[in-house]
Symmetry: C2
């Protein structure tokens, strides 16, 4: 595996180069500098990311007409309509035009918010994603999804707006706190289990190195995870079918996050618990116990924080609000084998609510 991989995502509005690796930013700096030349550049980022890595994008100042930094809150807290509204106001005041540029520089929340802001400002301006977490590099930055949250449901307002480029600089991951790294690995395991048996085996072998932040292991895992996601997104750009597979673990995961008001568990950690619950449903539908045990063992290696106390009824209600529910009912994504997922409609709400109590008290146990 080379230090740098150039991937391409083809989508209905064009193509997005996705550059993953050590030195990805240096490698693409000339392209980025040309892209911002003579334009106003808006940088959506957090104080923390700017302090740790702001210097790395300093080179853009020399070609941009001017650079306007838009600081936002860390994490999900930034993804509100109010925050988006304030950014738009500020961009107008600072002379933003249709040919201005926007760079998202941070984790998944910064990318989701910044992409939404770019997508709706003057009916859409070009943007580039510079994701700084594993989660954002492997998942959130790939596929053009943008969104903010409403109090009633996460990601409920947004649009598909593909970035002009994604630059996934692996060296930025060196400053990630351990829980953030772990949260990102959950999404890699999720994609590996459903889409890529080789990546699953590689992750089993590499999990120690990945948790220790080993750059070579991270390049391998992030590039393979992003490539797996690209394949799914290209087959189903606007989530009509196969892209729904990526929601494995997210049904209960999103409900957990919502009930906990996005505090107490990170996104990936909540998804890990969602995967553990889905494994129980899958086992009842014929998933080999040896495989579900392998997944449990791998997730156990991540040393997740314990599941906070939550009420079954609240979880059930939150799942009903999830935007993936269609009028025709809820679809569960369940693993069917290594590298194989299935969309399942036959899960009665009684089975879910009946099983949740047992699951919440012992999430790593089989049914």
């Amino acid at each position: 595996v080379p230090d740098l991989q150039r991937l391409i995502l083809r989508h209905p509005s064009g193509t997005t180069p996705i550059v993953v690796g050590r030195g990805a930013l240096a490698e693409t700096m000339a392209d980025l500098a040309a892209w911002v030349a003579e334009r106003t550049l808006f940088v959506v980022s957090t104080p923390r990311v700017l302090e740790l890595h702001g210097e790395a994008i300093g080179g853009l100042d020399s070609t941009a007409h001017r650079t306007v930094v838009l600081e936002v809150e860390e994490g999900e807290a930034a993804k509100t309509l109010q925050r988006a509204g304030k950014l738009w106001q500020q961009m107008l005041q600072d002379g933003g035009k249709r040919d201005s540029r926007l760079l998202t520089f941070g984790g998944g929340s910064v990318g989701d918010l910044g992409g939404f802001v770019a997508g709706c400002f003057l009916r859409g301006i070009d943007y580039v994603q510079l994701p700084t977490t594993v989660l954002a590099q492997v998942d959130a930055s790939v596929g053009g999804k943008t969104a903010v949250d409403l109090p009633a449901a996460k990601n409920s307002v947004g649009l598909f707006h593909h970035p002009a480029m994604v630059v996934s600089e692996i060296d930025f991951l060196s400053t990630l706190p351990a829980p953030e790294l772990r949260s990102g690995l959950v999404e890699i395991i999720k994609m590996a289990l459903l889409l890529d048996p080789l990546l699953f085996e590689q992750t089993e072998a590499d999990v120690g190195a990945l948790l220790a932040g080993d750059p070579a292991a991270l390049v391998r895992a992030v590039a393979a995870g992003a490539a797996a996601k690209i394949r799914v997104v290209e087959a189903d750009p606007e989530e009509g079918g196969q892209r729904g597979l990526l929601n494995f673990g997210h049904t209960l995961g999103h409900a957990l996050e919502s009930v906990l008001s996005y505090r107490g568990l990170r996104h990936g950690e909540a998804v890990a618990y969602g995967m553990l619950f889905a494994l129980r449903l899958a086992e009842r539908r014929g998933l080999e116990p040896s495989l579900s045990q392998r997944v449990r063992r791998l997730l156990e290696r991540l040393d997740l924080p314990p599941l906070p106390e939550v009420a079954v009824e609240e979880l059930v209600e939150a799942m009903g609000r999830d935007k993936k529910v269609r009028e025709s009912g809820r679809i569960w994504v369940l693993p069917a084998g290594l590298g194989e997922g299935r969309m399942v409609r036959d899960v009665a709400s009684e089975e879910v609510s009946g099983d949740l109590e047992a699951f919440l008290s012992a999430p790593f146990s089989p049914t």
Copy 2:
């Protein structure tokens, strides 16, 4: 000219049938009923439109799973981010899903807001436009533009989201107040002058009948205007070039609206004054005075309300905030002949501010 015309708009995300005429709604009712079958239908409309014409869409209740009416303010006042946020909240509470449907039923503001709400709800749901004003039928509903306003600039937040169908029922125009009818005719004159000499001559001949609300004249003018707009939009779906021609009159028009806080002049009336000003710039660049006099005479027939008092400096400042300004500078759209428009970059801001004083005191005079 038959009573009913079926037009088609081809755009990057598919095709939009646009049905214009007397009885257009009855003609398409079966299609609409199938489209909402078993779904939640959200109807974005105003109390006034619902009172006048609500019965006409009652037939949809029988096939929809349920109908949720979302009432919004009349006119530009509805086009705020706050209003959109409240609608999204309510749609979530009422069980809106990705396969729910939305119908905009009203004038251009209802269509702009409703289209934006549909475009961003759960990353986009299908919607149909049922425009009830000339302006909305001939212009706002054609081309997929959606938007809300920010305090600093109109239509500054939005996206391209094409409706599944547009149904322009000419019989709805019978209840339009005269100033609203007049405001719509301005946009028809605008498109005719730049794009369609025959429509211009037809409008000169029909202007009395149009102002009197004659249905046959309205079918002719609205269908021809919508067809002219379709040709421009198809050539330039996301306003990179030719579509900019439709901004004739809008540079000063938008600035007038903004300085007047969207009170005192309707959109079309403001655009009419914008066209009158642009004629002065065009005459200095060689437009035949006989043609500009024809345009002035036609606009005079509309009996516009007088231009409220506004300060030149405020207008100049508002024009600088317009979203059509690129970083490379402002482009003016000027008529070059009958059926011919031109994008002009050589208009110095000194010429504009120098000429505004004279124009404001005598808007119908030539230079």
